[in-house]
């Protein structure tokens, strides 16, 4: 079910402001692709343009192509809501729905779309998703308690369970570990490794070691200069990026000699 993503000549605008310019890349199916780069260089914008979530911000638009499995995401006939059902997303800050229990949070993708589920099917989905998200053992006895009562790391894994419960083709993760402690981070990284066998995963991270640990390919984004749009400096297999990158600026950023 996993799909690859081809991005060609992508420009992303907020109103008249060009945020990201001229991105070309291929995200391979059933692999983990990491985006790294300094703050404000357009990694998150790029990630959000992959499931049209950036359109939530008024005035946001793109030029260029994003093709998932032969289907262009930005064709006039494409419904952004349908895109987001296929390409799920996990955000930087955990955002479980405060009105729902843990159980209902996992099923939110089905429940909010008013899909009728048999009780057995619902139980199966909840158990499978929570197990995949490494949360089942911690919450199996309190599924009807509110999701907000969990710790930050558990909430984030709950959000991941919620995202994979609808079985998307692609999972986008926007700095999923930046608000978490090392133990929760490690749990989520293990999870990413496991999910790789079923999903195509794109992750934005500020943590270079994390990119090196979890990803197969890495894209390095940077600003050409202050006030200039962000662009993709280099896109290569992670092993190559972290040993012999093509660009000097990539090596400078990765080794900490940035500037």
């Amino acid at each position: 079910m996993a799909k690859s993503i081809d991005v060609s000549d992508l420009n992303i605008y907020y109103g008249d402001f060009l945020a990201v310019e001229g991105v070309n890349m291929t995200v391979k199916s059933k692999s983990v692709t990491a985006f790294i780069g300094p703050s404000g260089c357009g990694k998150s914008t790029m990630l959000r343009s992959l499931n049209r979530m950036h359109e939530v911000i008024p005035g946001a638009r793109v030029e260029g192509k994003v093709v998932v499995d032969g289907q262009s995401l930005y064709d006039a006939s494409v419904d952004p809501v349908a895109v987001r059902r296929q390409i799920g997303m996990v955000f930087q800050r955990p955002n479980p729905f405060p009105t729902m229990s843990i159980y209902d949070n996992v099923l939110a993708g089905n429940r909010l779309n008013a899909k009728r589920l048999k009780r057995d099917d619902a139980d199966t989905i909840v158990e499978r998703s929570l197990k995949q998200a490494n949360l089942w053992n911690e919450v199996k006895d309190r599924l009807n308690k509110p999701g907000m009562g969990l710790s930050g790391g558990q909430q984030q894994r709950l959000c991941i369970a919620r995202a994979i419960a609808v079985e998307p083709e692609v999972l986008l993760m926007d700095e999923p570990c930046s608000a978490l402690d090392p133990i929760s981070t490690s749990a989520i990284e293990d999870l990413i490794h496991e999910l790789k066998s079923d999903y195509t995963i794109v992750i934005v991270t500020h943590n270079m070691q994390q990119a090196a640990r979890v990803s197969d390919d890495t894209g390095f984004f940077n600003l050409k200069a202050a006030g200039q749009p962000g662009h993709l400096v280099e896109f290569n297999p992670t092993k190559k990026m972290f040993s012999t990158p093509d660009e000097a600026s990539t090596e400078a950023y990765i080794s900490g000699r940035f500037g």
Partner: protein, 346 residues
């Protein structure tokens, strides 16, 4: 090597110091009060003034400047609190002491139909009228108000239409209630002829007064719903209208309910528009769409206008019931708010 001692302890007044100063201030102010025959209120004001001078002075001598300022401002804030609360307590006291003698089972279950002179009358018809008219007003204004707020927050953000609506809602807030009543009357007269009076006219007038309050409070509550939740919903492929109805509204529900109940308690005591359009009657009328209907405020007004001792008593009794009604509504709002508020904790 000796280091300078850490200066973190200092002299403190005993815990009972404010009580002592308070008693002494009452005594000091009591002397001139006795000699020149001041009333209780003047005595209290003088005592507060003495306290405001004496307490900081003592504190300044023992504790230092910062503590003295603290004690002065603390005393000032308690005084302000007392000034703010005393009218409320006073009002409750007056209404309860005057209204309680009028309240009995007959008063709550009888109407004023065929009641002459000092006979036992009742407010049953007014109670029914108030409940029906206010309920109908809520039925009209809550959907309009909440849907307007949904448009303003979720769909029309920063558009010209939204700005115009916000402006008009603000203007509506300032409509005098009598004007709302005359508007409703004009509407009914245009539609049904000059002699037409019905409770629904009162509901229309009250809904004109309720809508802006409901819009404003619902709007505030929906703006408090974090964008994170909307994004989480969108990212699951949930369409916008479902996001609004299944995520935003439930999350904001407790605040919206509180706002609605506050709007109801605001209009439940309206007199003028109801006097104009719903009129006044002595009997029970349960049909909102035909005939005059009395509400509690109108009942109080007409009994008070009769200028008889029993009329005054009935008016006070009606006032007590009205206040109790508003109080119950507020309690219900709090309970509903607690039930629906997003659950936290384990």
């Amino acid at each position: 090597m000796t280091s300078a001692a850490l200066h973190i302890s200092q002299a403190r007044l005993p815990r009972w110091a404010p009580i002592l100063v308070g008693v002494m201030a009452l005594a000091v102010a009591g002397l001139p009060a006795l000699l020149s025959g001041w009333g209780a209120v003047t005595w209290l004001v003088a005592a507060i003034a003495v306290f405001l001078v004496a307490m900081p002075l003592w504190s300044r001598l023992v504790e230092g400047r910062r503590a003295a300022t603290d004690r002065f401002v603390t005393a000032l804030i308690w005084t302000a609190f007392g000034v703010a609360v005393s009218p409320l307590v006073w009002l409750l006291w007056v209404v309860i002491s005057n209204g309680l003698p009028a309240i009995n089972a007959d008063f709550l279950t009888q109407s004023m139909l065929n009641v002459i002179g000092d006979e036992q009358g009742g407010i049953y018809h007014a109670l029914i009228g108030t409940l029906l008219i206010t309920l109908a007003a809520a039925v009209i204004s809550v959907p309009i108000g909440i849907l307007t707020a949904v448009y303003l927050v979720e769909y029309g953000a920063r558009s010209r239409v939204a700005r115009v609506i916000t402006f008009l809602v603000d203007v509506m807030t300032g409509i005098p209630s009598i004007v709302a009543g005359l508007f409703a009357l004009a509407l009914l007269v245009l539609l049904f002829g000059p002699a037409f009076r019905a409770g629904i006219g009162g509901s229309i007038a009250l809904s004109l007064l309720m809508i802006p309050t409901v819009v404003r409070s619902s709007e505030e509550m929906m703006r408090l719903v974090p964008d994170d939740l909307r994004e989480a919903s969108f990212a699951l492929g949930v369409p916008k209208w479902r996001t609004v109805t299944r995520v935003v509204l439930p999350t904001a529900l407790s605040g919206i309910v509180t706002g609605v109940v506050l709007a109801i308690s605001r209009v439940i005591g309206e007199t003028a528009p109801l006097l104009v359009v719903a009129g006044s009657t002595d009997g029970v009328n349960t049909n909102l769409f035909d005939g005059r209907m009395t509400t509690l405020p109108v009942f109080i007004f007409s009994q008070y206008s009769s200028s008889t001792p029993v009329g005054y008593e009935r008016a006070w009794g009606g006032a007590l019931v009205l206040i109790a009604l508003v109080m119950v509504l507020n309690l219900v709002a709090r309970i509903i708010g607690r039930i629906f508020s997003p659950a936290k904790g384990h």
